[in-house]
Symmetry: C2
Amino acid sequence: MKIKTDSVKGTFDILPKDMELRNWIKNTIINAYTNNGFNQIETPSIENLDLLTKSEGGENLSLLFKILKRGGKLQKALGKENLEENELCDLGLRYDLTLPLSRFYANNSNYLPKVFKSIQVGWVWRAERPQKNRFRQFTQCDIDIIGEDTEIAEIDLITTTIEALSNLNFDNLTIKINDRRILKNIVKFIGFDDSEFMGICITLDKRDKIGWEGVRKELLNKKIEEDKINQLIDILEKLTIDDLSKYKVDDEIINSLRNVINVVNNYSDKGFNIEFDITLIRGMGYYTGQVFEIVSNDINCSLAGGGRYDEMIGRFTNRKVPAVGFSIGFERIFNLLKERNNKTPKNNEKIAILFNEKESIISVLKYAEELKEKGNIVSIFRKQKKTKRQIDQLKEQGFDSFCIYENSKNLSNIE
Amino acid sequence: MKIKTDSVKGTFDILPKDMELRNWIKNTIINAYTNNGFNQIETPSIENLDLLTKSEGGENLSLLFKILKRGGKLQKALGKENLEENELCDLGLRYDLTLPLSRFYANNSNYLPKVFKSIQVGWVWRAERPQKNRFRQFTQCDIDIIGEDTEIAEIDLITTTIEALSNLNFDNLTIKINDRRILKNIVKFIGFDDSEFMGICITLDKRDKIGWEGVRKELLNKKIEEDKINQLIDILEKLTIDDLSKYKVDDEIINSLRNVINVVNNYSDKGFNIEFDITLIRGMGYYTGQVFEIVSNDINCSLAGGGRYDEMIGRFTNRKVPAVGFSIGFERIFNLLKERNNKTPKNNEKIAILFNEKESIISVLKYAEELKEKGNIVSIFRKQKKTKRQIDQLKEQGFDSFCIYENSKNLSNIE
């Protein structure tokens, strides 16, 4: 019987060509990060289930892959009546890199500088319903600055991420920026009830897809007073930073936003622009201050997103530790560059030596060594009877040059 | 309440310095592989539980991390009486890279050349009892050649692995080689019962630790006839390749071994030697022919191991597909190089700009940009009051050069 050989539903095998592109993207991003003084770290893929379930992961918690207990602990759990799911499990696969980073920082802070600039690139797992471009195992690519409470951190993350995307040949991008706390002020100013705030956020988050008219309709459906809705949309539609003080937004919040926008605008000559966008919400519950996103204007989709989360690490350290993160959407960028047929830069010629079985392998290897010393990629293969087909297959594997090794040193370079 | 912040038992957090060394090792190995025409691929960390449990994983099967079913399927399973462990789970974490490679090859063979030379570097998981240098999540680093049935594949794997280890600055290494089928011939020749073969293998495998006298004692304890034991040890102790034909070993097996030994001996001027070792068994049940191992003579431990497994992929493809693999012990090599205090080569100067809060960040960033364009790694930090301490911490993070940015462009290079 033939065994099923597909990869697990929602996951994917990576073939050599895709791997090459993924490696190029990964290295390009990591180089930009490293050149700006960030340090790569890594945490295990598995975390204690307690840590995961007690986190502020929002809907990700319902998407956890949980790992069964083993041995005596499992037997004990199985013996229980009215068995609950979590009693069977002790570990889980991480669903993001931010929660593990917080645990890592608390666990290792003695070995880390006061301001720690981290790089993390790694797999995360979510038991999503599989659909196009939504995977159960995918790569996340994060930088975070821990221990810096001013907007220097935001500026550093944004300019570094611009550098990374620019090195990946992206341009015509807009950086959207907001501060979580502003909308709260405005909603309060209009006189909404606190309980209505989350619903308003969820709807506003869709503004770029449904437009202001869509926002109005959706809020009406939520049984919110029409007058107030109109007032809210009136304010938000035209809102600029200069208006913020009217709504009792703290000067500190306003100045910090101004500073980031001003610096990033002045910094960049790379075809990026930055704008204040009050409707930028971003899903994660843990954000406490500025949030930002980079959007491609050509294809109207988000390539990177992040924000400040000053409360999260404190849960592990018992003292407040400010933090900001910015994450590049690795899988989306991979798919975009693959569609664009992005060629990874090639430095070395890739040579296949096809040798006759009767030849001395020692001399074939010595010849290969000579070619390698000249900086080529060299692979030896037995010459197959269907040599033409063999060469065609090797071309698909990226070999550009072929030589047939016959009659000792008599080489015929055939391509 | 403070939450537990250790990494999961048997796993480890990777700090920046360790990450740098791990990346250097990984890149050095992958470069050696790539330069010899191998292609990197990757498979998901999770596989269907069926695939894992029906594999020839030997004792690894008892070390599986199994993943709980979700949603309706879980509820259905929980409702059953006399619930069995595997009914609760549908997925598991991979315990090695060879089984996933076999599935990968069967799943993607239409897109792969007839002879496929693969690289895999990735995490694997085993629920081992945690102990020193035995981890529950560790990196494996494999090359495999699929579709080549002659010893060209073995030679290619061995010479490529030598190149990788040599580039990692290892020397004084011995390559041990054997063929699984030879011992079977000798045991049969002496007249052992088939049922005794596995027990003999398990004992012989320990010969490098317990010596021939230890082998004798252990076999006696296994109630094997003393006469036969003596005969076996007499033969094995002095066995050379020239003796093999006496014990009715196939000429093909002997010639193939001779060829590998001869070629590798002639190829290498890198302080390696290769020798036939009848006691080299290697644990995995799936090996069908030659097996080999690279041992450091300085510290008497194995750095790499592999062998031919011609039957495994056929279980997925329904046609015989020959395959050979060679795996470098990544974690062991990392620990050895860390103990040696191996410095990773450094190309770029790492500069920290400490700036006064009152300075214009735009000009700080522009200055950082200038320094980066000269090929430096540059990071900006707010100058802390305890500047000396800040600089000491940054030195530990690998920064070699510091400048304080004050009074606009007035720079004082302080170190």
